[in-house]
């Protein structure tokens, strides 16, 4: 039984074709702030409006975060329940370091860059630390350790340990030391482009890791750990590297989030948030990079827009038993996820692949191999 990833890749177009398509997609996305595309109901306004750009930027950051989760779950088969803590490390890290460095006399550009570097280093260290402990066990135990560690961090954040994290209120961005072109409603399109850049960077990082020898070893180790060890490779180290790389990528998305939202609250460090990531990745299609992206965008649109949609006449007029569930984005997301897991494990992208595949006899999107490998 070969891996689901292998069979998925076989169906895709040749390399240069895909790069060309990717470039076109990025170009189109980059141009959106300059266009006036309007999708009523889905977008709050035409694509050049700050409201819409904020939603889209948020969607891209969540997509980037989902991609980093895809790296550990989809590629390496590690079911982590604590990934949100690295995203929170990025967002909170930037906020805290900026606030600490702002009073010093340093020029604000230096402070800003230094803050980013420090935050990423912290994320790297944290990723290594958590990974070093958690990867000593595997399967469900690994999941439990990550859950417990993330929970502890969440509690510490909420209790305002050291007076740094601001408790339930969270941390706000020290705007004074942030470059002007990233601040203010008028610069929303810059934030949008920043989010796009982050998504592209994270995507390329994922591609690079997956294609590298490291990526192949980790995927092989997921299928058959013994064989990998016999070849003289150390699954533990490989997974640790991947885990901390994913942590840093999550932190990058967190930094973008902080800049976009101008604040961070403990909600982003909860296990619920990580579970949402899990749902996003599987819903989009675990094992596909594009699955993470699609899932992230669908989730954000649901999350951001459903409230508006719910107050619209169409839904407000429905009887309570329909209206209440339909007004809750996580309910819809959760139930979609349940349906996907039960009937279409390949997720949205998996379904799309099945539909667009022309050759008969091609393997159906069976349960992704990654879902079968884990036992306690």
């Amino acid at each position: 039984m070969h891996t689901f990833l292998a069979s998925a890749r076989r169906g895709l177009a040749p390399r240069w074709g895909r790069i060309a398509v990717g470039a076109v997609v990025i170009a189109v996305a980059a141009m959106l702030p300059l266009l006036a595309i309007d999708i009523p109901g889905v977008l709050p306004g035409p694509t050049y409006t700050p409201g819409t750009l904020t939603v889209l930027a948020y969607a891209m950051l969540i997509a980037a975060l989902a991609l980093s989760y895809h790296l550990i779950f989809g590629v390496a088969g590690m079911l982590s329940f604590g990934h949100a803590m690295f995203f929170a490390a990025g967002a909170y890290g930037l906020g805290i370091v900026l606030r600490l460095l702002a009073p010093t006399g340093m020029p604000s550009e230096a402070v800003f860059l230094l803050a980013i570097v420090i935050t990423l280093v912290v994320a790297l260290v944290l990723g290594n630390l958590v990974g070093a402990i958690a990867l000593r066990v595997s399967g469900i135990s690994f999941a439990m350790v990550t859950l417990a560690i993330a929970q502890a961090m969440n509690v510490m954040i909420r209790r305002n340990v050291g007076g740094l994290t601001g408790g339930e209120e969270g941390v706000t961005l020290t705007v004074a030391v942030v470059p002007d072109w990233l601040v203010g409603v008028v610069n929303t399109r810059n934030l949008y482009w920043l989010a796009l850049a982050i998504l592209v960077i994270v995507y390329l990082a994922c591609v690079w890791v997956e294609r590298s020898r490291l990526g192949h070893v980790v995927a092989a180790a997921r299928e058959n750990e013994l064989r990998v060890t016999v070849l003289g490779l150390r699954p533990y180290l490989v997974r640790l590297f991947l885990f901390s790389a994913a942590a840093v990528l999550a932190a990058v998305a967190g930094i973008g989030f902080m800049l976009l939202q101008s604040s961070a609250t403990p909600r982003i460090s909860t296990s619920d948030f990580t579970l949402t990531l899990l749902v996003i990745v599987v819903l989009g299609g675990v094992g596909y990079r594009w699955g993470a992206i699609v899932g992230g965008i669908v989730y954000t649109l649901l999350d951001q827009r459903l409230a508006a949609l719910a107050s619209s006449d169409a839904i407000a007029g429905l009887p309570d038993v329909l209206r209440i569930p339909l007004s809750e984005p996580l309910f819809i997301l959760g139930m979609l996820f349940v349906l996907v897991v039960m009937f279409a494990p390949g997720g949205i992208v998996g379904i799309a692949h099945r539909v667009t595949r022309r050759r008969g006899g091609r393997r159906d999107a069976e349960e992704p191999a990654v879902l079968q490998d884990m036992e306690a």
Binding site: L330, F337, M374
Partner: protein
Amino acid sequence: MTTVLLLLITGVGLGALYFLVASGLSLIYGLMGVLNFAHGSFLTLAGFLGWEVGRRVGDGSWGGLLVGMLVGLVVGALVAAITELVFIRPLYNRHIEQVLVTVGLGLASVALFEGIWGTDPIQIRLPEWLGQTTNVLGANIPNDRWLLIGSAAVVLALIVLFLQRTSYGLVIRAGVENRTMVTALGIDVRRAFTIVFAIGGAAAGLGGVLASVYYGQVGAHQGTSLLIYAFIVTVIGGLGSLSGAALASVLVAVIQQLANFYLGGTGDLAVVLALAAVLLVRPTGLMGKVTH
């Protein structure tokens, strides 16, 4: 000395709550290999419905509370059994999908509860005695702890009796050890799965109502926060071991109380460290016996 006694007894009281939630998780994982993320929702729903019915019978009265507890028990059992039949059974032998489904259901149900009852917890009225204290050797123990400890002890005894004395109990005990061999004896374990879900759901349901007594409120996120502790307790005690869950519940709760009091509110951190320690030293848990 009285402080230590107070912390110990209130710790056991909290441990009783953890046990009610963890007992089901442990049995479900032990028998089925499923980490049930929807368990917290059984708890929350039972808590809400127990309160809704109880306050209509007699808001703040003993009658209302007892009816509420009964409702919680029944609701928990029913919802759990239905969940198993509709969502888990069709995914027979696909463990990760089963876990994922419970994750999705957990997320969806909490959102639903928020939609129905709102995002803020609702304060509830309780019989006066529960808010008072009893003096034990100098320590003033809040009376709600006695209710918790008593209920958990009764539940533990009933579950043990069921496991030891009934034929389904026999199947479950064997299945926790070696589910595959049970099927190879010609026994349809799927019925045992539903029963274990129902038992776990009933205990969690009762736990949901008692949690609202303990916290003085019902809220959409009550189950989720308790669930994490229940998971930790289950893993420390040993997945699949009921006695392990009982022991770990008390240990974890007492550690939490002591750390909160003597180490400046670091109870949660202490619990996490305990989990990490157990996992690194004895990954199967204190009394774990899962072999499959």
